[in-house]
Subunit: 498 residues, 2 copies
């Protein structure tokens, strides 16, 4: 048994180290790499990926895992072995030719998606998306031969949100949808809604000062100078390159709050990753149990903290001074929380956001079970936009073509955004209950207690529990949209006076 | 044969790609990595190195090379196969335990060297250096079982300067030493020498402007924005991370010309690497034939161009304006070429520099053949300093402890600096002969013709020829210290009026 444990530890460590190397290749690609080096970088990344794949499919590794499955292990190793067994079996269940075909198809689909979006023409993308969907149906079947899920969508969901099923997800999102629409109705009927205007955020904020604030909030959330970085990239992202090495990127855009808000979001991811790696064990449990769990960390900081009144009690005076803002904290707070339907998911306010997700979930589930045809997507998209958000995209570019996910074969990914947001509100509600005076800390820009709580209640456990169990252990309940709806209702009732 | 060629191409490509990945890990370590991530990075680098080693010692690779050695190949493949065969055989000649011992010993020696230098105490370093030397003697013996060199030092020299031997090197350096001392005597007897003073370089140059000039000269030498970068690091270095991806670093120090001069030096290396990779063949011939050849490129730009009058005809007016300098071009030119013995090699002027190298060569040769004991090094060092440079270090820190090389086991490396400098002067002399009006271009800051000439006459050939043959093909002669001495004599005669 000792030998088998050593074997799996060796393989895990090598796979993790190669994964970090691969992450560095990607970080550099997106931050500093000279443009014309793209071809070289693609070859380097492909080679490192193939080395990871070799190790993941190595017979000695698999045999050691199978041996250990039969042994009596302590709780941690039992969970670990089960997790590795599942991951290895899943990769072994997919034939090599299938994986290659999927990779080629999605790579081509991504390029045609770019083109289709550029030319605002869904027809260009359609045949490629059809191929992707057909392959994902096939993938779900392959995986299900091992996973034995009730629903083929579950087999894909398992890649992102282990433990989640359509059976649990559908009522959760349905309840969310009804609740959000109800709150939106109240908001839209309010006097404040009818007269609301963007004033403060119409200003142009100087680039240098934006960078200063982004760096400030990154450090204040708890990312240490010796163990983290913030750089520039076209798109904001977070990545862990090693122990004490988490990095995020930001960008300065027209929206004067974009860099600040995206930095808070990525800082949430980064703090999680910093703590996950802290034990330096180099095993597969040093990771988040699910995408939703990970997203809960970024959404928590971005929304529950970063769009809260106490947070701006601290930052507004600084913003006001540096950006020479007229108006008071309430004006500012109301404006940054302005509810207004948007065609674009990532520009959405926190109430409309999950409606965007629900729309996508419904469509992709239909695509997978064959009840929806790819060719009908644009029309169905627009119909759902009309029903849920009461606005309709004029073009596919601002409709069905806006997200990259499907082109890459990420079916089952979207729901994790909603799950994460719900989790985030549950964490915030729990923290406020446990630490009734925490808002006083936030008003001083002091997040140390929150940071410690998240670390001790979530982060240190890594992937030892399923996401929903982890949330339950920490807050007393598994995913519960009612808590999110109550959080929203309380917050927006104050703003819109309904 | 086709199959064997495919095999060696596959292995070379993978080894090169992994080498570039390893170079990125190192570049990041020295530029942007958070400090506390050092442990992670060491583990990542060690893993990638071990993967490279695995491929280098792979049996299939070696068998394919051996098969090809028996075949009738075209000139390029013949040289390539010979080169690979030599490299693989050399690594196979060293027992695994020996390589590990050397690696551990030098790693420890490096740390104690740091400590010894810090505490200015050679005794701390001495036992470690003794071990390193003993291992290098052993290494030379191992290598010689295959290389069959006349002199055991040659076997180590072969790692850096293929084709060079003690038999050729000794008279070359001896001629150089005599010639340099002769020029120095003339300089020291001149009126100008006795009254020379640092005035312009005593100024503090603002950091931002220094960076501007460094970037400007980097681009002007010919490093394109889309295919190269300049960043900051503790020590300046150059690295190739892929096709169209060469990077250098610089640093701002007290010496106001440090960043500008070191940037010119590293740009020379970078231009070479940029051109070496241009054909995207991913084979071992896409490299420099020797360290001396590589150094010739950096020294050429740093000294023959960067310390020339025409170069400063272009840059002095800009410097003068931006740094608000008093004094004229001649004052400036004389000052940056001021001859003055220095205890420190890397702070040396271009005349004293090679004397530092010769001193080190003589000592390390003695260490290797046993005629010099490590314990006697400080005293011998100081004696040679007195004889060749007429100054004596007060402490070991500014004497025998100043260079990192020996702690890492780099015996046979130092001479390549002198070889490179001699080559550089030969290139400059040839270029001036072939393009008699080239100084007019330099005066305009236009280096395009020089760049093209270097590319077409040296760079494109990669490692197809030995360094000395390459220089001979390009300039008409192999290494010839007389040309360097004439270059120096002409230049300093004008400055010092002897």
């Amino acid at each position: 048994m000792k030998e088998d444990l050593e074997t799996i530890n060796k393989f895990q460590k090598e796979i993790i180290l190669l994964g970090q190397t691969s992450a560095l290749l990607d970080w550099d690609l997106q931050t500093y790499m000279p443009k014309q080096a793209a071809q070289s970088r693609a070859e380097q990344s492909a080679l490192v990926s193939s080395l990871i794949h070799e190790k993941m499919t190595n017979e000695t590794f698999f045999q050691a895992v199978k041996n250990l499955k039969k042994e009596k292990l302590d709780r941690k190793n039992e969970v670990l072995v089960k997790k590795i067994y599942k991951e290895l079996t899943k990769s072994r269940t997919l034939p090599k030719e299938f994986v290659e075909e999927l990779s080629k198809t999605t790579s081509l689909a991504f390029n045609t998606w770019l083109e289709a979006r550029e030319k605002d023409n869904f027809k260009i993308f359609q045949p490629h998306l059809e191929k992707v969907i057909a392959l994902k149906q096939k993938e779900a079947n392959y995986l299900n031969s091992f996973l034995q899920c009730k629903n083929s969508y579950d087999a894909l969901l398992d890649n992102y949100e282990e433990g989640m099923t359509v059976e649990k997800l559908k009522p959760l999102l349905e309840e969310l949808k009804q609740g959000l629409i109800k709150i939106l109705t109240k908001i839209k009927n309010s006097e404040h809604y009818k007269t609301q205007k963007e004033i403060l955020l119409k200003k142009k904020f100087p680039r240098e000062t934006q960078i200063e604030f982004a760096t400030d909030v990154f450090r204040r959330i708890g990312l240490p100078e010796n163990g983290s970085r913030i750089d520039f990239a076209e798109h904001p992202f977070e990545t862990r390159l090693g122990i004490n090495d988490v990095r995020i990127t930001t960008n300065i855009r027209d929206d004067p709050l974009f860099s600040f808000t995206s930095t808070i979001h990525e800082s949430g991811h980064a703090l999680y990753e910093l703590h996950l790696a802290e034990k330096s064990r180099y095993d597969f449990l040093e990771s988040s149990p699910s995408y939703g769990m990970h997203e809960s960390q970024s959404r928590f900081w971005e929304l529950m903290i970063g769009k809260s009144k106490p947070f701006w009690e601290f930052y507004f005076p600084l913003f006001s001074k540096k950006f020479n803002l007229k108006g008071n904290l309430d004006d500012w707070y109301n404006e940054i929380n302005m509810v207004k339907p948007s065609l674009i998911r990532i520009e959405s306010d926190e109430i409309h956001y999950c409606l965007h997700i629900i729309l996508r979930f419904e469509l992709e589930q239909g695509l997978l079970d064959g009840s929806i045809q790819v060719k009908d997507l644009p029309q169905l998209w627009n119909e759902k936009m009309k029903t849920y958000l009461n606005i309709v995209p004029k073009t596919d570019k601002e409709g069905v073509l806006q997200d990259v996910h499907w082109s890459g074969g990420s079916i089952g990914y979207f729901p994790t955004y909603a799950i994460g947001t719900v989790y985030a509100s549950q964490l915030y509600t729990a923290i406020k209950k446990i630490m009734p005076t925490i808002e006083k800390d936030i008003e001083k820009g002091d997040f140390s207690k929150i940071r410690e709580w998240l670390k001790n209640n979530l982060h240190v456990h890594g992937a030892l529990f399923l996401a929903d169990d982890l949330i339950k252990n920490a807050t007393g309940q598994g995913s519960n949209p009612k808590i999110f709806l109550k959080y929203l209702n309380d917050k927006y009732k104050e703003i819109y006076g309904f």
